[in-house]
Symmetry: C2
Subunit: 105 residues, 2 copies
């Protein structure tokens, strides 16, 4: 849940793809998430463990399978870190517009 854990977890492109897949198809189990990613079962398990350790996803065991979902609070430290540098953003109004659009769903 530290900034470093979160940045490191997302720095690996394969693991970032895993996270993006969890976000897109929330609530699916590890085997289902693994389809099409071209990684072995242990690799997937290790990636999910790193993401969970970083607080980015949560697991819910259901019998034999484990369902993974995005932890709503997981990205907050990253958002907060980024907001500290909002003064450097090039198109702040555009960013606000986009944020509003994302929120207005």
């Amino acid at each position: 849940m530290t900034e470093t854990e979160i940045f490191k977890a997302l720095a690996d492109p394969t693991r970032r793809a895993v996270f993006e897949r969890v976000a897109a198809e929330g609530g699916r189990n590890a085997s289902a998430l693994r389809e099409g990613l071209g990684i072995s079962q242990p690799a997937m398990s290790q990636h999910l463990a790193v993401l969970r350790q970083a607080g980015l996803i949560t697991e819910a065991r259901a019998g034999r399978t484990v369902n993974y979902t995005v932890d709503p609070a997981g990205l907050a430290p990253l958002r907060d870190w980024l907001l500290r540098y909002a003064a450097f953003w090039p198109a702040r109004i555009e960013a606000l517009t986009q944020l509003l659009k994302e929120m207005d769903q």
Copy 2:
């Protein structure tokens, strides 16, 4: 300038501290930035090179010294990536408030 380069550049705590220092004391040269960080001169040079490669900072040589500043466009890909998951944020209104506060300077 890719997402992976940016995440990797910021994943190392020492290098993130360097970036934060460039942001806080913009326009200073490498030696000035190095004070108090407890790293060697080559280490600093290497960290700055990684940050520059990621598009997070820009350098401006001034004679013997090189001044570093935050690249305004550098964090945009990170911001855009994060905004894709705004739907998962726990306190969206609070985030908007903070963003507005940062902008209203």
